[in-house]
Structure formats: C-alpha cells, structure tokens
Amino acid sequence: MYKIAKENLTALFRLIAGAQELYLPVKTAEQVNFGVWSEDAEVDLDTLKSVKSPKDAFFPQSENLYTCRKDGKKISIEPEALKEQNFVIFGMKACDVRGVEVLDKVFLADPIDTFYAARRDHGTIVAMACHEPEESCFCKVFGIDCAEPAADVATWMVSDQLYWKPLTEKGEALTKTVESVLEAADDADEKKVEEEQSAIRGIVEKLPYSNLSLEGWNGDVLTEKFDSALWEELYKPCLACGTCTFVCPTCQCYDIKDYDTGHGVQRYRCWDSCMYSDFTMMAHGNNRTSQMQRFRQRFMHKLVYFPANNDGMYSCVGCGRCVEKCPAALNIVKVIKAFEKQGGEKA
C-alpha cells in the first residue's frame, strides 16, 4: 500500500494526466459529475455521489459510430476509431465499480461491443472507499462492500491522507507511473485504513435501507411478479422522464440515430430510457403502450430478467441515485418494499 497527502493530490493528478486522460469528480455549476481533469477543474472528492454515475467513461451518453460523407453522388463511410489511449478514472465508488461489472455482462458478452471493449481495455479504475455513506445507499443489499472497493486500485481517504492500494496488474502498472509522488505506507497506515473500513461498515449497518430484503426477487419469479396488480398502483406518480435511467450506473439501453450534417450523416448511439414512450418504437408501433408497462419493465429488468440471464446477478447496485433524484420520489426501494409488504400480507 501507498499513501499520499491530500494536499499533494494535484501533483498526482498532474502526473497521471501527463501520460493519459484522467476522469474524476469535478464540480461544475454546483454539481459534481465525472469529468476530465485539468489544472483549473474544481476536483471534489468529498461529495459522496456524482449526479451521473461514471459509466460515461466506458459507455458515453452519446458516441459516434460512423460517419457517411457525401460528395456529389459519391458516398464514403468512415467508421469511428476505437479508443486507443489509456485513461484513468479516479474516485469511482464500490457500487459504481459493480455497475461496470454489470455493463461488462452486457457489452462484453458475444457479440462484443467493440467500442465498449476498447474503453474497458484502456481504462484503469481507481476506486475510493465511501467515507460517509448516506441514507439513500443500499449497496450492502447487493453484497457490495463500500469500504473495500474492488477495482484496479483501491483508495481510502483518511483525514489528510489518501491510501492507495493496487489490486490488479493494471493497477500495479499505473502505480509504477506515479510512484514518484507516492509514499510507501507502513503498518500504522494499514491500521488506519482498517479502522476507516470498520467505521464505514459500522455506518452502513445503521443505514435505513441496509436491511432491505431481496427475498423473492430472482430469475425464477417472472410471471408472478409480471402479473402482479401492484404495478398498476406503483407506477401512477411516474412522470415518464428518464432521470432514474440516466443517473443509474447500470442502465445500458441505447438508441441508434442518424444526424444529418448537411454533407453526410453521422450515425451515433445515445442512451435511451425504457421510461420513454418511444422506447423501442418499431414500424408496427410500440412494444409497451402504457407507462405502467414501461415502469414495470425497468424494475423487472433490474431484479428479474437480468439475474435470470446472468447467474443471479442483479442489475441494481444500490447506489441510491434514483432514490435521490426521482422527481416523483419513486424508486426501486419503494418497489421492493411494496412487494415485500404484499408478500407479508399474503403470508
């Protein structure tokens, strides 16, 4: 393990950014989101959750796929280059790291999404333990330990020191490039980190959602859950916006669109939301015609369909962003609780 004084972090960032791109939480107009580091970027490592999850680093909100150019009657097609430069994403939380694992299941499964795969290959994740988890967090429910993020490098911020522990080869390689600004940590430091970890775990225990039960949610309950009358009630306040999906670290749906540049067409993909009325719109019309169906889709996918296809892995990581951001105060926790309550009533 290594350490670096908080006040020297700028030197660390400068060093990393000198060799490759560096994404980290940056405050812009009062809000913290992952962004590219620059000398005048306002880095914010204290805010627990970025508004958007950092999934953009691997699966950007929109990305070009290829460009058609028209010259007279001649048309040429230029595929977008795959990511070729290494980059570092610093400050991801354990839940967001799990989010990337979820995305891996989707994009790295056959057929592999080459754009995503290239970014994964070139990206090194430096995760950070959650110093002060909040009431909307429920990562524990999904077996995530926010005190011990599983990334290429794990870090802890304990008072004025950042502790740095490479966990993978990529992590080691990155560490080598920045060794000059790191100090080796001693036993006392190890102890401090352990103390921090147990403090974090202690807080997690006290969080209101930590004891949420996922009992009854798995790949085998498809029709039972699907046909539940509860959905008809639960969806009612839903405004059909895409806030939950766009702040979510695991939502992976996208649409492919064409943009007329005047001298050709750019084909790009951009995030889509199953909450939108034109989601998966096809020539014949829409698969899901009501907001209830769309609402149900999102939670069924996270808690039933995805585990059914991925060895029981849920595609929710308990980051709690949707809990905080839904304009109508709806969220996956309320859904889980509602079914729990109904189950309890039934029993």
């Binding site: 007279g72 005047g262 019309g285």
Partner: protein
Amino acid sequence: MQRIGVFVCHCGSNIAATVDVKKVAEMALLEPGVVHAEDYQYMCSEAGQEKIIEAIREKNLTGVVVCSCSPRMHETTFRKAAEKAGLNPYMVEIANIREHCSWIHKDMEEATKKAVILTRAAIAKVNLNTPLKPGESRVTKRALVIGGGIAGIQTALDIADAGYEVDIVEREPSIGGRMSQLDKTFPTLDCSACILTPKMVEASAHEKINIYTYSEVEKVSGFVGDFTVDIRKKARYVDMDKCTGCGVCQEKCPSKKAPSEFNRGLNTRSAIYTPFAQAIPNVPVIDTNSCIKFKTGKCGVCSKVCQAGAIDYTQKDEIVSQKYGAIVVATGFDTIKLDNYDEYAYSQSKDVITSLELERIMNAAGPTKGHLERLSDGKAPKEMVFIQCVGSRCADDRGKPYCSKICCMYTAKHAMLIRDKYPDVNVTVFYIDVRTPGKNFDEFYRRAVEQYGVNYIKGQVGKVIPQPNGKLLVQGSDLLDNRQILKEADMVVLATAIEPNEGVRKIATMLTASIDTNNFLTEAHAKLRPVESPTAGIFLSGVCQGPKDIPETVAQAGAAAVKAIGLLAKDKLLTNPCTAQSDELLCNGCSTCANVCPYGAISYEEKEINDHGIRETRRIAVVNSALCQGCGACTVTCPSGAMDLQGFSNRQILAEVDAICR
C-alpha cells in the same frame, strides 16, 4: 423517393449572362431525387413548357423544379404545364435565380454558386412535396365600390352594365368627387361638370347600382368571392325618401358660417346643405357642428320650413351588412397640407392659393361666381405667378418623392384660360421640368407658350413675400439665364402635390390590401396586374393606386371593372390548397391555434381517436379549408406541431433551411 426534373431557364441573357446555367443543371443532378436536369433559352415559352411536359412523361417525374424568374411571375405557368402532363401542379417548385440572383449579382462564379444553392433548396422542398387539390368556394355576385368619384362611378357603371349588382360607398353627402370641383378639363377644355353630371345621373338611375352616400366602410371580413362588409350610413338628419330637394331649408337656415368644403373653404355654406347644385342624391345633410339646433337645442327652422316633413333630428347612424364577391377601391386623392411650405406664404396671404382653389375661383358656381379676383381685396389681378412642384418630387421628407403627374397640364390649362379670358393679365410659370406626355398634351402646352404667351421660367421659387402694398414679392431663379428673379405678383398659384385620401390606410388595413409608404395602394404587379391588389378580390381604380389624370382614371376604372366582372362571372372559385391541417394524433385540443386564426377557420370537435392502440375521445382541432387562407399563424402557435401548413410544411421549410446552410 421522388423523381425530380430540374429545368434551368436562361431567360435569354437575363439569367444566362451571370449564371452558368449548364453548371446549375449539372450540379442539380447530384442532388437526391433528381433524375433529370436540363437548361433552355426560355423555359416559359411554349417550347420550354413542352420540354417540361415531355420530361415528366418520359422520365416519370414526380416533382419538378424550375430555376427561373420569381414564382410570383411564372409559378402558375409551370404548374399548368405540369398539370398538362398529368402531374399534380403542386409538385412544382421554383428556384428564383433571376430576381434573387442573376439580376443582383455581377460575378458569374458567385451568382452560379448561389443559383446552385437556391436550386438545391427547391429540390429539397420538392422532395417533401405532396400532391394538393384545391377546394371550391362560392362567389357572391355583387361588387362594392369604395369611393364615388369619377373612378368609382365609371367602375360601378361598367360592372352594372355587365349585369351585376354594385354598391357605391361615398363618404361625402354627394357622389362626384374631385372632378365635380374642377372647372374645365385638359386638354380639350370642356366643362368638367358637363361631362361628369350625366355619369352621376346615369349611376344613380341605374337599376343595378345602389349608392350609399355620407357612408363609410366600417368592417370587412371574408375573402375573395365572399366578403362581408359593414357599411356605416351616417345620420343625415334628413329623410332620403321624403326630401324633394327643393332647397328651402338651405335658404332659410340661419347658420351660414360654416366653410364650404366643396369650395375649399373659400366661402361658406349653411348648416343644412348639399355640397353643390348638381349633387346626387339631391338630399341635404345637417352638419351638427354648425347646426344651432344641435348645438343649443333651439332653432329647428329647417324642420319648420320643410313641406315634406323630411327633417328628422333623431336619426342615428345605421350599419348595413352586405356580402360582396369583389371590392373595388376608388378612394381618390386630396392636395397635401402646405404646413411644410411656409416660404410660399400660403397661410399668410389670401392671394396665395392652390390650383384646386383656383379651379373653384374660375368656376361660375364658385365663391367669386367665376370672376378672377384677389380674395384679399376683390381686385382683378394683373400679374399672376404659378409655382410648380409644390410638395412633389421632393428629395427630403417635407413633401412627396413622386411626381403628381397632373400639375403641368392643369397649370397650362389655367394659364391658357386666364390669358384667353383676361388678356391683360401676365402669367408666369416657374417650373423644374414641364412633363407633358400624353395624347395632345405637348401640343396643348406649346399652345399655352406660343399662342397665349405664357411666360415659362425654368427655376424654382425660393420665397413669396407679402408686401405692405398688398402685392406678393416672388423671389425665384431662372436657371436657363442663370439669374435671380424678383417679381411682384398679384396672385400666386401653387401646383400643390396630391396624395391619397386620408383614411385610405385604414381601408387598406381592413381589406388587407398592400399599401406603400406614400399611402398609394400597391398593385399585384407593376406592369402586368396594375389594377389588382395582391389581395385576391380587391381591385384598384383611380388615384388611390397612383397619380393619374381623368382619362387614365376612367381607363383604369374600366379595367378594374373588367377584372371584377371576370371574378363575378364565375360561380365557384378554386381555393388555395395550401391550407393548415391538424394531425389529430398530436393535437392537444388546447384552442391556442383558434386564438390566432384571423378567419375563424378552426373549430374543435370531440372525436374518437385511436392513438397507437389507445382509444379515447379527444378534443381536437379541425380546419375548415374553405375558410383557411394559409397564413400559418396557427402552425407556430401550436406547441406540439400538430398544426402544419400544406405546401409550406415544417419539414419542407426546414429542408430548405438545411439545403441553404449546408
């Protein structure tokens, strides 16, 4: 995908001299949907149109772009050609590469580049065109003529003679207009009243003509073929049916101090009056501003002396609502106010007068019974000076920028008449140019100079100074002799500029007819459609369209009548198919569109809708395409884009924008 043919016109050298037409055609072929492109000398010619027809047939074209002059010129021509070939006429678009390109640019490369872009925009639009079919609307077989001067009378007579009902609305108590105030007319010198009054009588006696005098147009709604007009008949306080026109009331009226409008305020009239002896109708009106009964409640002499019992002090304005198929504007002119021309001392001396005042002085029924005399002292003048272009051809905004056209001729007339009747009077005319185009006009002017010895001086008058001895000192210059002139005159006559009558702007607004900055109504085309307003169903007669003399006015009045008759002769009109349409799946039923529709063409209905499987009853907007005129106000006010305009759809216009900006 459309199959578009592009036809590039050379317009002789009008386009081809500045635009590389071959290049335009060649570039057009690169655009999506274009399967045919050619250029030709004159696309609008019979042979040119034949080329379009042939290409449509041979290449199965579904859309046509003609790169030529303004669509305001030949859009109809090319649409008709397309129709001949079996293509819907609304699948034709024009790229205006003449007025908007070749005529304003000098550099060939630049103009060609622009022409290519304009063509591209038209192609982009045609790609989204859909066939449109005009609807039908009915024609009310009745015409309205606004203004009862010689223009209005002639138009009304011609329309009525063709067998259609005509109403004349005249603001004054009698028809007759400006011409009734004139003494003699050029170049024949015949008596104005002698040729006008028979026309007035004919109009009033015509069974198809109905005259509303002392009336004004209050409100106009509707559109070509189906206008609804409210006419305000102002209270005359005299019963038209009972009055015999004996004139006793006017004689006995104790209030005789009101300035006579007809005599340009040079003398007075009674409070109850007919403007002039030959007035039609010969029924007086009471001017409530000078009537003692109306001002004090006492008097009532006219009522007492009227044998017919026609006086009715309780009469009220009346609104008559009538439908018309066509409207002719013949609102005429007045002379400008001379407030900006103080240097000519018009306001300071009674002996400085306008030409129209001189007409009244020369007229036997005028304030001086036809004797030429100074209004200040009644003495006969010896030295008269005429000043031309007072307020006309003015470079600054003191006066009018245009030539009033009639002044040179009437001044020659006045000079000639004075020299003829009073050979001892010297007449001097200061002019900038003498303009006498017209049949027998220049001959007329030369007679004034050569035969009658009128002294014409090329030069302007700087100042007219009233002298203590009652004379007027005229300071002018002689540009030909290059000298200053100081001349003592007994009378000075100002050839005052004419301008469209006050209130014409209000009428133009009601009719939605175009009007220019000088308040002359705009014609649909300066050369080819000079008597039509751009607004369908509105025709222009007389000076309201531009300065003209009597024969021109009468000719134009007839032309306007013919245009109106051409419209009234139709039973049905094809309506513009470029109307708004509401997409019922997108419509919110919010009524915002109806709020901005000037024609009341949008209504709402509850309708069973199947929106991608969701069935519900919704309130949706419905456009009455017979009423819709296609302005598009509703399309922009509609937030969801449910309302769109056929022929100018959102996507068509955006495609043009894209094509231009790329």
